[in-house]
């Protein structure tokens, strides 16, 4: 019966079905996106017991508050004594993973720049779940000079397989023995090494002999595995003052692995974003359910005869109710299954589009399927109640006679409320989507404050020494090269720092300040702006004892006139000679931190970064030139050049914003589609309901124009009311939106979102009304 009806009334059922499918598919996709955010690291068998050691720095505003870069001594001296802890793993980057990688090779010739290598204790294999393809995870990092490779890297180095026992050269100097190959870790992994070296070799390879007693070097990472039922809060209490003899403002604590992706540093931003997305997806579900109710009731109007006859023949209300409920439920369940299917099909392209490895496979997530099915049954039931009730409650005579639904309507009725809700939700969602879109756009396109377009930067580790000047002069001989500099860090590669006193500050007060060492031309190469004072200059030999600072540092130190002020860093005094205007040092989302720039002595340092500012449009030529010149200058070293855009566009926050922006765009488009369907359904319903009135009015000689105004003003009123509801709600969302870098919301966003809905509504209204008006009044007013 239902199938026969579906075939008969193709259009209306197509709309009903499309509406539901879009509603469910959107809900499913967003749920997947959101649950993906909570599924990071959860493949680890010990997921619930893994914690990361972090530090809380109880210091001034505008400075770093939390970090997971810690000292080795904390794990080697303090944590190790705690009975609640089962395993501790100390980890350190090989090289600086923020900056560059290490060149690995098998034959000393084909060198691969490999990032994300870590020194690690053997215990990482007890704490995290690594699946070994080759080798023994129980002793892979127990011998010096071992190397454990991820499958991806192993395939690169040893395309034929069988890496175990073979040798790998690091920077063509050190030889490692492959003791294991592990399966690539899932994308949603917080700590995702490409290869591991034993911590045993750290001291020898880096020269940091005494690192285990070092409470000062914040360059290590520590993960712990708690014993079952251990209380992390108790541990936090015990280690709270572990650094009191060193930096009393710093307090170690443990952060559970479950929080590392969504909220590592007690910043609710991502929660708010997730909450907002959840809210939007639920709204889409509500929208499509309201649409379903309206469309169901609307399409039921021509079923009076069926109902009348069935009632006459003795079907009771319960049975009819059951019949309509069953129809409604089977439609929603079918739509939901199709929605899952479509979401599943769309997954690869969504993953591509949204990025960030955001979407888990729905089949990985039985909880989600359960939730979706529950939601389906509930919405199916709720959206079935109204039509089933209305339809089954008609008295048989009236049902047989009546051609159109006529409801008691004086003042506010359910339909009006549904319509207003429908419009409010649509307008609200569209405005919010606009706001999120604009906000993310603002973050993604904001001026970074430095030349982020025409810079190439190097990855090189060299043992060569001497001056950078000859190389620079050779580079500048080419017209395509405008400027060049050398520095230990560049924008979007985050430098470390230290806690400093400053002139005029309290003697015992310190703040965390990041350091960079830069050559004379850093400021010009990156086209940074000096606010006051001067840049380093070769004409001032004393500049080796001077420094530059950024705007934020001036603010944090509270200096009126920064020039000539003194800062002590690494046991040496520096005089401030200039202030650099704040630029985005690392992340578009983070606030700026104080920054100190010292002069890099005019000499080549083993792992410095060379930056080349090239003439616009000459990227290819510049790339060839630097390759050639570097080849001549560093004949013994492997190097690689990259475009600065690679850094700025792959930064975590940028990618997160892009994901958010794209998923919001998706939501906006679907909102428009689904509200058009809704409006279509409503208007279909309303025009049917108003058919009689149209007929009467036509008989009385009303013109088309006045009828149009009459019919559409009904909607216009409700749409205007819905603006009154949606606007403040959307503004509230803008207000609670987190972020240090909020853009200024503008009235035209509210207006244009509203206008879109209005336009959609009027297009549909006009289509339907004109159709309704074409019907001859005789047809409508016939008395059977």
């Amino acid at each position: 019966m239902l199938l026969r009806r579906i075939f008969k009334e193709k259009l209306i059922y197509l709309i009903i079905f499309a509406n539901l499918i879009i509603g469910y598919a959107t809900f499913i996709v967003i749920s997947q996106f959101i649950s993906g955010q909570f599924m990071w690291d959860n493949y680890n068998t010990n997921y619930d017991r893994i914690y990361r050691l972090q530090l809380f720095m109880d210091q001034k505003e505008n400075t770093l508050k939390h970090t997971w870069s810690v000292t080795a001594a904390l794990s080697r001296k303090d944590l190790i004594e705690l009975p609640e802890i089962e395993k501790i793993a100390l980890i350190h980057d090989v090289g600086d993973n923020n900056k560059s990688g290490v060149f690995l090779s098998v034959d000393k010739k084909n060198q691969f720049l490999s990032r994300f290598g870590y020194y690690a204790d053997q215990s990482v294999f007890d704490i995290f779940t690594f699946k070994f393809i080759e080798g023994d995870s129980n002793q892979a990092l127990t011998k010096p000079y071992s190397i454990v490779l991820s499958k991806e890297l192993a395939d690169k180095l040893f395309p034929g397989g069988n890496a175990l026992g073979k040798q790998v050269y690091g920077e063509n100097k050190v030889v490692f023995n492959v003791t294991g190959v592990f399966e690539d870790l899932p994308v949603r992994t917080t700590w995702r090494p490409a290869y591991l070296l034993p911590m045993l070799s750290y001291a020898v390879l880096t020269g940091q002999k005494n690192y285990e007693n070092n409470y000062w070097g914040y360059t290590f990472h520590t993960y712990v595995l708690l014993k079952p039922n251990a209380n992390p809060a108790a541990i936090d209490n015990k280690i709270y003052d572990a650094l009191k003899d060193f930096r009393k403002e710093h307090h170690p604590y443990l952060r559970p692995m479950a929080k590392l992706n969504v909220n590592p540093f007690f910043d609710p931003s991502l929660y708010i974003a997730i909450g907002l997305l959840t809210f939007l997806s639920v709204l889409i579900l509500i929208l499509s359910s309201i649409n379903f109710i309206n469309l169901q009731t609307a399409s039921a109007t021509d079923r009076f005869r069926e109902i009348g006859i069935k009632k006459t023949m003795g079907f009771n209300r319960r049975r009819l109710w059951f019949q309509f409920m069953l129809e409604s439920m089977s439609l929603t369940v079918a739509a939901s299954l199709t929605g899952i299917f479509i979401a599943q099909l769309a997954l690869p392209s969504l993953n591509n589009m949204i990025g960030w490895g955001s979407f888990p496979n729905i089949l990985e997530n039985p909880k989600l399927i359960f939730i979706i099915l529950a939601v389906t049954l509930i919405t199916g039931f709720l959206s079935g109640i109204h039509p089933a009730y209305i339809i089954s409650s008609y008295n048989p005579v009236a049902a047989l006679k009546q051609k159109f639904i006529s409801e008691k309507s004086n003042g506010i009725n359910l339909k009006k409320i549904l319509v207003t809700i429908q419009f409010s939700i649509s307008v609200f969602m569209l405005i919010v989507a606009f706001i999120i879109f604009r906000q993310t756009n603002f973050m993604l396109t904001k001026d970074l404050g430095f030349n982020s377009q025409t810079i190439l930067y190097s990855n090189i580790v060299t043992s060569k020494e001497g001056s950078f000047e000859p190389l620079k002069q050779r580079l500048l001989e080419h017209r395509e090269i405008k400027d060049a500099c050398v520095s230990d860090y560049i924008p979007f590669i985050l430098p470390g720092g230290d806690d400093l006193n400053w002139e005029g500050g309290k003697p015992d007060e310190k703040v965390f300040v990041r350091y960079s060492n830069i050559s004379y031309d850093f400021v010009t190469t990156y086209e940074l702006e000096m606010i006051t004072g001067r840049n380093f200059s070769i004409e001032y030999p004393a500049d080796r004892n001077n420094c530059l600072i950024n705007e934020t540092a001036v603010k944090v130190f509270g200096w009126q006139d920064p020039i000539g002020k003194r800062i002590k860093a690494s046991g040496k005094n520096y005089d401030v000679i200039g202030v650099i205007k704040d630029y985005t040092v690392f992340s578009v989302s983070n606030p700026n931190e104080p920054h100190l720039y010292r002069l890099l002595q005019d000499s080549i340092v083993s792992n410095a970064v060379y930056s080349i500012n090239f003439a616009p449009g000459k990227e290819k030529e510049a790339m060839n030139i630097v390759k050639e010149e570097f080849q001549k200058f560093f004949p013994d070293d492997a190097f690689e050049f990259s475009d600065i855009k690679f850094l700025t566009q792959n930064e975590g926050a940028v990618k997160a914003f892009q994901s958010l922006q794209r998923i919001t765009g998706l939501i906006a488009i679907l909102t428009i589609i689904i509200s058009s369907i809704g409006i279509f359904g409503l208007i279909l319903f309303m025009t049917q309901r108003k058919m009689k009135e149209v007929g009467i009015r036509k008989v009385l000689g009303f013109s088309y124009g006045s009828l149009y105004v009459n019919l559409s003003s009904w909607f216009l009123r409700l749409i205007l009311i819905s603006f009154l509801i949606a606007w403040p709600a959307a503004y509230y969302v803008y207000k609670v939106l987190p972020g240090a870098n909020k853009y200024g919301v503008q009235i035209w966003e509210f207006l244009s979102a509203s206008l879109i809905i209005l336009a959609v509504a009027f297009a549909t209204i006009s289509y339907q009304i004109i159709r309704a008006l074409r019907v001859r009044p005789v047809e409508i007013l016939k008395d059977e």
């Binding site: 006529s406 009135e693 009015r697 009385l700 000689g701 013109s703």
Partner: protein, 237 residues
């Protein structure tokens, strides 16, 4: 007032053709009260719709007030209908969403009359129909008789030249039916032309003239009294 020459109307569906009207020649003079009778499906309502300019004929001529209008398009028909023709339906056809006052006011709105003017006319006619006290009620809250009086008020408010009534008493009990008939007669004495479709011989006989339709054809017309055979025919149906 009204004259038709060989008026015909055929309804076509995919399968069948039904001749609703077949060469109907009818003339109604100004001030006349004509009843149209005939069995179900004989074409009474179709005739009334065409006379009321709600529908077009397929062939034949139709003179309304001396103007040949069978070729009029919908807009022209609407303009001619406005204010000139009043309709009364069996099922009243009041708009449920509007109260009685607003329902009666509608034709004046269509004519674009001023508010003060409208108020005056509506109140006057509602009082005349003895439903002034219910003007703020909605149709569903009224009895059938009251609803029909409101519908008549609506038909009369523009002082139309002609009233077309399609079984105005069909949904009413005898008392209310009688009241409506009385109203129509009264209206007719003030000069309004009335064409009324009815099943009730009693009510039909109160018209000046009865027109009988059978299978789309005018079988006979007579004034004063109905022929005995027709009476038999009708009672047989």
């Amino acid at each position: 007032m009204i004259k038709t020459v060989n008026l015909s109307k055929v309804f076509k569906t995919e399968m069948v053709e039904t001749t609703a009207l077949n060469n109907v020649n009818l003339e109604v003079a100004k001030g006349e009260f004509v009843a149209v009778m005939g069995p179900s499906g004989c074409g009474k309502s179709t005739l009334l719709n065409i006379l009321g300019l709600l529908d077009n004929s397929d062939s034949g001529e139709y003179y309304f007030d001396g103007i040949e209008i069978s070729g009029f398009n919908e807009k022209q028909r609407t303009n001619l209908r406005k204010g000139n023709i009043g309709f009364i339906f069996q099922s009243f056809n009041l708009i449920d969403d509007l109260n009685i006052y607003e329902n009666v006011e509608l034709p004046l709105l269509a004519l674009g009359e001023k508010k003060s003017q409208r108020r005056k006319k509506v109140e006057e006619i509602l009082d005349k129909m003895r439903i002034g006290h219910r003007k703020n009620h909605f149709p569903k809250q009224l009895s059938g008789g009251q609803q029909q009086r409101a519908a008549i008020a609506r038909a009369l408010i523009t002082r139309p030249k002609i009233i077309l009534a399609d079984e105005p008493t069909g949904n009413l009990d005898s008392t209310n039916g009688e009241q409506v008939m009385h109203l129509l007669e009264e209206l007719n004495t003030t000069g309004t032309t009335i064409i009324m479709v009815t099943h009730s011989l009693g009510h039909a006989e109160r018209a000046h003239r009865i027109v009988n339709l059978f299978d789309g054809q005018l079988v006979m017309e007579r004034s004063d009294k109905v022929f005995e055979p027709v009476r038999k025919l009708l009672s047989a149906i």
